[in-house]
Symmetry: C3
Subunit: 659 residues, 3 copies
């Protein structure tokens, strides 16, 4: 079933208004709303006194209108009575600054009082709603870690971190060994000596830091697990999820997803300047468990609560296009944020489908049209999903390591992963975004951009994939570090050197916008020259062949890019950061063939397949008309017409063909 609806807050409005709202929702073909994520103070105005009637009536009225409810646990914002009794639930920043109440996300997930009270309200809600008609599932809390709150430095966290470290390492000697505490005399002999990496004069120990980030992520995972277990136990018929934030870097969503039936995410397009960045986030989220929803889909201006700014209006056609782009990348539900802009509170400028005055305007009309379209295609979509032949390894461990120590000015691991992703996507190929420990069999090509942290298990997994005929693409900084964030005492790329068939003779960070030139000696880019910068590695080939070499006199004979046959497969190693068209061209040799080739910039083509066949989506992510050549004539499902081979797609247009 395809879910379509909005986030809704009956606690902000009168019963009369709710009635009017439901009528408008029905016209837009809504079948779901999400409710309750910040309403703890409404549910439990005094400790132990519970009030659910206000929500029950809304759920009932919606259900009667054919609209199901996804409930949220409201643990993100405890009621005010909590702080008077338990001031120690408030987070602390690295410098000791307390995160005070008044907004959200200020509580420490390791604070015992917060954990206890959270479990209490979730248990009561679960008991109350387990059998209520209309309720179909749960979102735990809301956007863990939002506003930089994943990492807390309070005393509860200090104790919890020591426990976490003890559990991971067993002895302080093992900690000393893993973190390499010999450097800057940081040895531990007692567990109680282990500090949090708080404000300090210079940078922290990388092993200490990475483990603190893992611990901070695990603290969120642990909080999710408590609620997940409770909800699955008390509400066996309901699904449980959490709304992730796309490329949000602070939480290992692969681990978090262990305690969800499927993940959802909150999609606010046009924030990174490239529509494929949203696809990147869609595919990241889908890859956690193979299915997902968009739980907050933009339907108006955003409204930055900190800066007090109203974002731009969606242009006509964009709301519909974003929804279809979501579906095209695998979303099985689309829930707009929010039904109507709130009159009060920090997000006054965050518009929903309706403005403050409730008058339905062009955004509502577009949502209604889209609702009708999804209703028409619901059967066709049923059972289909995106199933890529390409995977990209995006490792949270590496992200955390390189975000702290990027090496070169301007290097961003996430941006580099996106550049690589984009080059795949531009070929018309979807891409699973997998963790280091993912199973790789079934993929034709695996990209592992700047996979810095590598141990024997990862190296063996990659080697096995290649030996069995896979194609692997590696880029600079690969294999430099152990899982403890130490440097390997091996020539780069460390444990990957054998499959690469080459080693790094010298790494050269370029900080002043300095660049170098490489020329391609083989492959489809032969004789081309391109400038490279940021970070350059001089390679020495062993069994590999050089595909590109440096033109600089000083580096004569050093390879920049190599290709090595290994087992039945091939390993490419890029000692330089390519991007844009040159990267797209370069990768073509390493990738499988897509359904459509030569896709012009701005068009996005994806496939959802299932037992009932294959749907191909053509989404025009621009405001201009675009054309594309399909491999034949096909039935277009939104219009029922036959299209192709020459297809014109209007600005913000969407075409869905059965192929």
């Amino acid at each position: 079933m395809f879910y379509y609806g909005a986030c809704y807050y009956p606690e902000h409005w009168t019963a009369a208004q709710v009635e009017k709202d439901i009528a408008l929702m029905q016209k837009a073909r809504f079948n779901v709303v999400r409710m309750g994520e910040f309403a703890w103070t409404k549910f439990e105005p005094e400790q132990g006194r519970y009030r659910f009637e206000w929500l029950d009536s809304a759920i009932k009225a919606l259900h009667e209108a054919g609209i199901s409810t996804v409930l949220c646990t409201p643990t993100c914002i405890p009621p005010q009575w909590v702080y008077a009794k338990h001031a120690d639930v408030l987070q602390e920043k690295a410098d000791g600054t307390v995160q005070h109440p008044g907004s959200r996300c200020h509580c420490c997930k390791n604070a015992p009082a917060y954990q206890m009270l959270s479990e209490g309200i979730v248990r009561e809600m679960a008991k109350h709603y387990a059998k209520m008609e209309g309720v179909i599932g749960w979102q735990v809390d809301n956007e863990f870690g939002c506003h930089g709150t994943t990492r807390c430095f309070c005393d509860h966290c200090k104790k919890a971190f020591r426990e976490w470290v003890r559990e991971r390492y067993g002895s302080t000697d093992a900690v000393n060994e893993a973190w390499g505490t010999s450097f800057w005399g940081f040895d531990f002999h007692q567990w109680y000596e282990i500090p949090l990496p708080r404000t300090m004069p210079a940078g922290p120990n990388p092993g200490h830091w990475l483990d603190f980030l893992r611990f901070s992520s695990d603290s969120q995972v642990g909080f999710q697990k408590i609620q997940y277990d409770l909800l699955k136990d008390l509400c066996p018929g309901h699904f449980v999820t959490h709304n992730c934030m796309g490329c949000f870097p602070d939480i290992d969503y692969y681990r978090l997803s262990d305690y969800m039936d499927f993940p959802v995410w909150d999609n606010y397009p046009n924030q990174a300047g490239d529509p494929l960045y949203e696809s990147y986030a869609h595919e990241i989220t889908r890859s956690f468990k193979g299915h997902y929803w968009v739980m907050e889909e933009r339907s108006g201006t955003t409204g930055d609560a900190s800066a007090g700014l109203m974002g731009e209006q969606p242009e006509p056609g964009e709301i519909r296009r974003w929804a279809w782009q979501s579906s095209a990348n695998g979303a099985d539900g689309i829930v707009y944020f929010r039904w109507r802009a709130c009159l009060t509170g920090a997000e006054q400028y965050w518009h929903g489908i309706l403005d403050h005055d409730s008058k339905p305007r062009r955004r509502y009309r577009e949502v209604r049209q889209t609702g009708k379209e999804f209703a028409r295609l619901a059967a066709a979509l049923e059972g289909t999903q995106v199933v890529p032949k390409v995977a990209l390894i995006r490792s949270f461990d590496t992200l955390w390591s390189l975000e702290r120590q990027p090496g070169a000015v301007g290097f961003s691991y996430d941006r580099h992963c996106f550049e690589m992703y984009r080059a795949v996507k531009r070929q018309g190929l979807s891409c699973d975004m997998v963790s280091m420990d993912a199973r790789l069999d079934g993929y034709v090509t695996v990209l592992a951009p700047s996979l810095s942290l590598v141990d024997e298990t990862v190296a063996a997994s990659l080697a096995a994939f290649v030996r069995q005929g896979g194609t692997l693409v590696l880029t600079p900084q690969s294999g430099a570090r152990t899982m403890s964030n130490a440097m390997w005492d091996l020539p780069r790329p460390g444990l990957l050197a054998e499959m690469v068939g080459a080693t790094v003779e010298e790494v050269r960070p370029y900080h002043q916008g300095q660049t170098n030139e490489i020329s391609f000696a083989r492959g489809s880019l032969i004789a081309q020259v391109c400038a490279v910068g940021t970070w350059v590695e001089l390679l020495e080939c062993d069994t590999a062949e050089a595909l590109a070499e440096y033109r600089d006199e000083a580096f004569k004979g050093k390879a920049a890019i190599t290709r090595n046959e290994f087992g039945e497969g091939v390993v490419y190693y890029l000692g330089v950061y390519l991007s844009g068209h040159i990267l797209e061209s370069f990768l073509r040799d390493a990738l499988p063939r897509p359904f459509v080739e030569g896709i012009s910039e701005g068009l996005e083509i994806t496939e959802r397949t299932g037992e009932n066949g294959r749907l191909v989506f053509v989404v025009n992510n621009t405001a201009e008309r675009k054309s594309v050549t399909l491999p034949g004539e096909f039935e277009e499902l939104l219009t029922g017409e036959t299209v192709g081979p020459n297809l014109k797609v209007s600005g913000n247009g969407v075409v869905v063909v059965r192929a």
Copy 2:
């Protein structure tokens, strides 16, 4: 009587030096000095032991030389013995950082010990100086809120804020309703639950925040009131004032002025790059009570105490011109800051009339010349004042709301008010700068730029003004919010919609420098086209006519500017932010006719009127010679010559004619 003098610090110098200083002051025709504002430690070196002799002798010597004294209460900087006994008088920032002693303004106005000790020293001074010859008035404290100290987050303030909220709302339910605490689950059931809006992960609740700003401003007002009441009681013959800071945004100076006989302000020109910005501040201050002084008029380099920078030297002629510009906008007293640069302390680089070595140089000579001129015109100025036909509503509530939530990147309420003011001023018209609750009868035109916070009272006041024949000019964001900083659940401009005769169909913040074009369909700008950005509102006319429309295909037919006849008057609504020449041209239709028309850029023309007639001031705010056509021949009062109709004004020149 026109007052002319300087801020003076006898506590910094020897008696012999004071004697020499007074002789130089007399030559410059001084008749007033201001003294004592940071000298608490001199007055009360130990708790309860008072020492006034050092100042008495200076007052006496000055008085004998014909120079009166304005005394300051020294409460801005308590003596060092205070902190050892009462560490809790120190302010706290939002993140908990304590404001330590060593500079100034570090005490919390809600700290009981600070209040008690302040009252003590003021009482002793008032008793001591009530009848002393030469003393004519008092400045309470100094520049409340300077260096960002209006808002304190200490525990005393937390308690005081809770009291303030309780007094305002009566019940926590009323608070919940006003602030809209349903958003982000922020309900209160006990007074002790109400927090200060301290450091928190995301932005604060706008109602909570606005009330905290009101409370912070009221805390200053309350501190002023205590001293005002005491001084008026003990020194019935003295005036009482406080030195405001022009456009300083943190304190509601309208309310503060309730506890002054007249306000004064501190004028440091050339800090905003436009000489009319000083006029803007002059008119703001004058409008508090109709009369004012400049209590600190720049006479040398400034000297940034935090950055350790020396400001630029006044160019030859500028000190005189600033003094005359002050008078031309209504100042009845001009007190230079400061007599001489201090040898020590944080403002070593803040030069006065004299340099550190006391040698009179060109700045002294210019002050002396200006003193003679004011002496010559004293009789003519007597009883005159600036009496504008135009008023501009500049609301502290709206300022505080929009400074926190400007909506669009780069929008500044104060800057917009100044743009509007400037367009009036450029026509040769002065302008009262009034609060929302001002009486509007008597004005021909009222401008209410971006008057976001509007309730029934304000709407009724504006409607009455228009109905009786007034012209009202409104600009974007008008009427969007309630007085509680909630959004109205009405189409914008909310309660003003009827008089505007149009509503806003869509607001469009433009963040990326994006612009749009409008074309004028009627009025004096007909057929002109201009680019608009920052924030654009698409208007739907009801009874209004469209003066300008959007040219963009997508907004075809949407109005950008409207004009509506309402009662006997007219309401203009600008859905776009105009500025510069186009704004000046547009407003011409809405404004009364000035004494002189077609004033070239850089000239400023004002009038002071009284029972004895009318003085017209022509001030050349540039270094280049300018010319202007007067409506006839007039007597020039500085030279005694007849001038006009063609008048040339030298660079930095000043002309005063009797008209």
Copy 3:
């Protein structure tokens, strides 16, 4: 003896690796290593239990290989057991933020527990190593004040500061007088009232601030003294030093050097964009006591621990050139940082001679070649030293005063000193960098750039130097302040006015990039015109003659640069900041003649002289070939060939001739 080696960390590696390392060191002709500076936790893993065996074996193995050891006291980083017992050893920032353990330099030098424990470990080490073969000297701690830790605001420092002030002034009245506490009512009557200049609303009192900086510097000096006295007492045969940081501004290295046998510094070239900036730092360090080493010489990428960035690779030839540049400016020892990049810890990216994988690559080969060269020249270098005829006064008091209150935007005292230094150096002259209280006899020319703080002693010293025939060059802001950081109540340049023969009529800070023009009326620049900015002083000549005047109409007749004959000597006063070529040309008249004239940009020429004659070094600080004309033919010591008069020097090339 010329020392050559590297910083080495046997605690990071296995014994087997140490053995291999020593073999490679021998091939590079090493005769010294530095060890132990962060190893307190290895030396004293539990309080009072000492472990030295791990280091003893390394010292022994090195000694047997002909490599001596400089030991460091490890007080920079106490073991973790310290914090559990003594949390009060941690530094506090001005806003109260605690500096937590996890990196380095976080302890307060005034904390009694830290002082006691530091003395304990140093005493044990000194006793243990006093007679051990191979150990030749000690470095106390490491880079005092690194990462902004010179200044601590904890309660221990508050008490120590009060003691320091009491010792300096004797009475609070004297403090009030010196600091000028009358300004902003800051008088003290009890010692316990004196605060630290912590976070406050506006800038601090300059006298208070300067004394706090002096105190902070003295706190480092006192810490050095304790260890120096202890080591000299227990290890009479060893030298004692500390590794300074070149132009590091926070510690008065002149005073610190009182407790060293000779200073050393840590040289990381190419951080200021001008190779002469390293020479500047070399000459600063040499001038402390006449001799010095480089204790950390760059041999690889740097690795910013805070930003997580890897610096640029030394280009081929640079490591060798930097070493020779060090020697050419007087270094008697060169110790590379570090032997090998560490696998763990915050400086993972800080490469040494070897990479993480220990494979000797081009950097090792260059170090080995350079080692052979130094071995060849060791005898010739023996007993020689740089002995300049020019001195530049670089005052820490003035630096501290002007860093807090630079007066003009963009003015930097250190940068100005460097500009002046550079203009001397570009003539082929070396320059001693001396303190205000240095003996000046023996110098031909003394430059005292922006010597703001001047008392009678300094003025008398400069006057005596000039009277006896010396040439003195002064620049803007000279003589403006007392030693207490008050302004003099005299016309600028205050006590220097008589010898200058002119006074300053007006100072003009230029903040907006505004400039002015001067034209030269006399001297070698006659008739030239040049633009001046930042800060301009209008001069009135008394006995001096004007060398340059302002061209601006408004300043007609005001001098910009003057020359005054005073006694047997000459005083130049520059009322403007000259730089680059114009400054070089201007200074030529004021400087002695060098060995070689007309040196092209990028070449550096220095001399070391001794009983055995004179060595002239020609270092090419660029990658391009350069030529220079020597005054005849000379023996080149690296090649043994005869060179000159026309000499070509290859890129990064070094030539050493006996002259």
